[in-house]
């Protein structure tokens, strides 16, 4: 058990260090950063904001991780999030329709990639463009405002002192991680990512698994869409999820999953998404003029990625091993 935990800690170490450094930096420019208090029956503070605001990207990143592990990519998630927002029905009906839309979008992507063998980046680009268009058709370009208390509760309600979106992504993330890791699914997905042909030849049901991965991604996008709409009490087809696919891909990359497929870690991607949101919230709290937002974000991300790059990592291991008094050749061989 401890060995497994230690393995996890080692895998997540770079992300945890990056997150700690960013949080520390933000607390330097904004001293009240770590303050938490209970207000209106829920925790209230900047740290909670990060977890809450990060919900859509975290959810998208969970689905994106699995897709990227199969050596694919899903560009359509932002648009799917936008198009899944429907309103005008009862709460249960709305949720069913929304999640159904997400799954359907995923099925479409999956069929294009798995059966028709279209490159993932092209296949999902179709929905990235069309999905938003469909959403705008449904809403006629206007923001649909709603007042259903149940739906609003999903966006701004709270449970056990935490905002509901945080609970949703925590539960969903743990669920997905358990399903792929406690069964052989995760390994099979990695196998497809490493070599699709070899996996098919060794009896893996490649098309089914690929379609399932894209459907999971669509489902995640739909949940993210519900949260985004519930948060502002309105379905904004023009802006909901706009550019979020790129943030989700970035979260996966920061989490250390290779875009070339293969090994993946959902926990690391979630951490990646939280890192991105910490940067966003930190910039907002710091009071810099908005012209600096993107530059600061880019600089921090480049820094994290450089830290994770193989040469730099090797150099660190090298130094660490030297200190430990071992022969450097052993370190290089690893």
């Amino acid at each position: 058990m401890t060995a497994i935990l230690r393995g996890y800690a080692l895998r997540l170490l770079p992300q945890l260090i990056a997150l700690a450094v960013i949080l520390l930096m933000v607390s330097l420019v904004f001293p009240g950063f770590f303050r938490l208090e209970i207000q209106n029956g829920r925790l209230y503070g900047s740290l909670i904001d990060i977890l809450n605001r990060g919900a859509p990207v975290v959810l998208l990143a969970i689905g994106m991780t699995v897709v990227i592990a199969t050596k694919g990519i899903d560009l359509s998630v932002g648009a799917v999030a936008a198009s899944s927002i429907t309103s005008g029905h009862s709460l249960a009906m709305t949720l069913v329709i929304t999640l159904g839309t997400g799954l359907l979008c995923g099925l479409w992507n999956g069929v294009l990639v798995a059966i028709l063998d279209i490159q993932p980046i092209i296949a999902t680009l179709v929905l990235m463009v069309a999905g938003r268009g469909i959403a705008q058709l449904v809403t006629e370009g206007a923001i649909l405002t709603f007042n259903d208390p149940g739906l609003i509760f999903l966006g701004s309600g709270s449970f056990a002192w935490l905002p509901l979106p945080v609970i949703i992504w925590l539960v969903f993330g743990i669920l997905v991680a358990l399903i792929v890791r406690k069964t052989a699914l995760g390994m099979l997905i990695e196998a497809i990512g490493v070599n699709r042909q070899a996996s098919t030849l060794s009896g893996v049901l490649t098309p089914v698994l690929l379609i399932a991965a894209y459907m999971l991604s669509g489902l995640c996008a739909a949940i993210a869409g519900i949260i985004a709409a519930a948060d502002i009490k309105g379905a904004d087809a023009n802006n909901a999820g706009l550019w979020l696919e790129l943030d989700a891909i970035l979260a996966v990359v920061i989490g250390g999953t290779s875009l070339l497929g293969g090994r993946f870690s959902i926990a690391a991607s979630v951490l990646g998404a939280i890192i991105i949101q910490s940067i966003n919230t930190g910039i907002l709290l710091s009071g810099f003029p908005p012209e600096f937002n993107l530059i600061i974000k880019a600089a921090i991300i480049v820094f994290i990625l450089v830290l994770q790059s193989p040469p730099v990592r090797n150099a660190f291991t090298f130094v660490a091993l030297l200190r430990a008094g071992r022969k450097p050749t052993e370190g290089q061989a690893r």
Partner: protein
């Protein structure tokens, strides 16, 4: 092409000589950007309404946010020999050639709500609002309302670098100058969206002592204000009372907030740009009166005293 031009000029001549008084046989082409926002949808609805009221035959072309579609639409309007063209240009540059073609065909072009970087003899007039003036109206309202008391303002800017964000900020700051009691303490971009408006306001509230330090919010559009109002409520404060809320655009949802006492004032960016355009066109058709090169629409201020629920009902059906 020559034939088409000749035909077009002939139609115009015919329209000028025979149908001068009535607008019944006016054919006007309208090249709209697309449906990028609720405001634009309302502009399209109102333009169609205005045309119908005046008995104008409106040919509508949706460009789906692409300039090449607009240029195609303009060329087809010219080929059809319409009497006039309304153009809401998606970008400012690259219009010289097609506007010259319209001019050669003697079809007056009226620009709606945005202008172009082209010589102003290529179009008849431009109907737009003054973005700086809008910010100014909002700032004046705030200065008058707090009346000399010290007031810390937080500002939600539009998309960084966009002209509404630059000009609405400029106009607001102009109105504040000379009032030392008014101070903008924080200013960040909310990208004109509800989500970002809410997120940025949350951080403002945390950064300014839970919001106790903030006396007013100025948002460059209503959508950001609507998002921010939710953030203020969730922080346990009363928007409209604890924190004054003033924004620009006058979309229906802000009137709902005003009726509930959660927003204080909004400056209208009227979606009825076509009305003044058709008026100018009618005058031109009648006796050749050339309108000024710029027709400024009114930037009307609405407050809670203006029966917001009634305005909400009136605006609701416009497609915002």
């Amino acid at each position: 092409m020559k034939f088409a031009k000749a035909l077009a000029s002939a139609t115009i001549l015919a329209a000028c000589t025979f149908g001068s008084a009535s607008a019944a046989d006016l054919v006007v082409g309208f090249s709209q950007i697309g449906s990028e926002s609720g405001w634009r949808a309302a502009e399209t609805t109102l333009t169609k309404q205005q045309a119908e009221e005046r008995g104008i035959d409106l040919k509508f072309a949706d460009a789906q946010q692409k300039q090449e579609n607009q240029i195609k639409a303009l060329r087809s309007f010219i080929a059809q020999g319409v009497n006039a063209i309304l153009l809401a240009p998606v970008v400012a540059t690259g219009w010289d050639e097609v506007l010259q073609e319209a001019k050669d065909a003697e079809i007056p072009v009226i620009l709606l709500d945005r202008t172009v970087d082209a010589s102003d003899d290529l179009y008849m007039t431009a109907v737009t609002s003054d973005l700086v003036h809008e910010g100014n109206v909002a700032g004046k309202w705030l200065a008058d309302t707090v009346a000399g008391k010290p007031c810390n303002i937080v500002e939600l800017q539009g998309t960084t670098g966009s002209s509404p964000a630059i000009d609405r900020k400029k106009g607001f700051e102009q109105a504040l100058s000379g009032h030392d009691n008014l101070k903008i303490v924080r200013s960040q971009t909310g990208d004109f969206t509800r989500t970002k408006g809410k997120e940025v306001m949350e951080s403002f509230l945390k950064a300014e002592d839970g919001g106790k330090n903030i006396c007013a919010l100025y948002a460059h559009n209503d959508d950001m204000a609507v998002g921010a109002i939710q953030a203020i409520k969730e922080a346990g404060l009363k928007p409209g009372t604890d924190i004054l809320v003033v924004s620009i655009d006058a979309v229906p949802d802000i009137f709902q907030a005003m009726a509930a006492g959660e927003a204080n004032a909004t400056v209208e960016l009227t979606p009825n740009m076509a009305g003044p355009a058709f008026d100018a066109l009618a005058a031109f058709q009648k006796d050749g009166t050339k309108p000024p090169k710029w027709i400024q629409t009114e930037s009307k201020l609405y407050t809670q005293a203006d029966d917001p629920m009634k305005i909400y009902e009136a605006k609701k059906g416009l497609g915002y």
